[in-house]
């Protein structure tokens, strides 16, 4: 049991380090296409963290929806809006604005880090049991049935809206 816990911790820290590095590359990279590919690393890392949290169904959905669909949408968006290939120097705001943004990010991290440490401290998960897909579907189709239907309508509206917006007429 202890060995498993150590293995989980090592996996967590390796994946987390990769994710943070990938996220930093997404927001600093000079090449649009590379930024999208670094985003793939971050999203795959998120799926791996879900598996560490024993949330199988969300992990699979993450891979299907994000890695499968959203990344392809982003690549389409990059290719359709790019004027020339290669690096582009007007991807970023001015240096002053970027310094301000970094300051805001660091301040936000400080405040959130303090409050998380204050609120949860060294609280452990305990025995994580697999959260089965059948239980997730039971929950969606009983307690959360109304929000589920609303989400369906929202997706339909977004689909029609995207078609109307992007259509040439």
């Amino acid at each position: 049991m202890l060995a498993l816990l150590v293995a989980q911790n090592i996996a967590f820290y390796i994946i987390a380090a990769l994710m943070v590095f990938g996220a930093l590359r997404v927001v600093t990279c000079k090449n649009l296409m590379h930024a999208a590919l670094w985003l793939v690393l971050v999203l795959a890392g998120v799926a791996a963290q879900y598996i560490l949290l024993a949330a199988e169904f969300v992990a699979i959905t993450q891979v299907l929806v994000y890695l499968g669909a959203i990344i392809v949408l982003f690549l389409f968006g990059i290719m359709l809006t790019r004027t020339k290939t290669g690096t582009d120097d007007n991807l970023n705001n001015s240096a002053g604005a970027r310094r301000m943004a970094a300051l805001i990010g660091v301040l936000l991290a400080g405040v959130m880090g303090y409050s998380l440490w204050d609120g949860f401290g060294k609280r452990e998960f305990g025995e994580l049991t697999v959260q089965r897909t059948a239980e997730v579907s039971d929950s969606i189709f009983s307690t959360y049935l109304l929000p589920f239907e609303v989400i369906s309508i929202l997706l339909l509206a977004a689909l029609i809206g995207a078609i109307v917006l992007a259509r040439r007429d």
Partner: protein
């Protein structure tokens, strides 16, 4: 594993996403940073869901909410990229500093 490991990871990714939204001027990159933010929130939701699942096995709200957020993120990216394409078609540029028609 500590609950805080996952919460701190979510917080760090959120801050990186906020930096990306503020520091980038390419609309597609801003959308990617928004995806980072939504994913960090999802990590938090699933971590809290796992935390409550240990004490109350019938409670799966965290995962259900994460699934809802994923669905909304998909809708948001679809509409967002359609808007970006439209801006590109009308202005031949997706620099969000140029989209200032409503600025007073």
């Amino acid at each position: 594993m500590l609950v805080n490991q996952f919460l701190f990871l979510g917080a760090i990714l959120f801050c990186i996403g906020v930096y990306g939204v503020l520091a980038r001027r390419n609309a597609v990159l801003v959308l990617m940073s928004i995806e980072l933010i939504l994913n960090s929130v999802n990590i938090n939701l699933v971590a809290f869901g796992a935390m409550w699942h240990v004490t109350d096995p019938s409670n799966l709200s965290g995962q259900v909410f994460a699934l809802f957020v994923i669905a909304i993120a998909a809708a948001e990216v679809g509409v967002g990229l359609a808007i970006v394409l439209l801006i590109h078609r009308n202005r031949q540029s997706i620099d969000i500093n140029d989209v200032d028609l409503m600025k007073g």
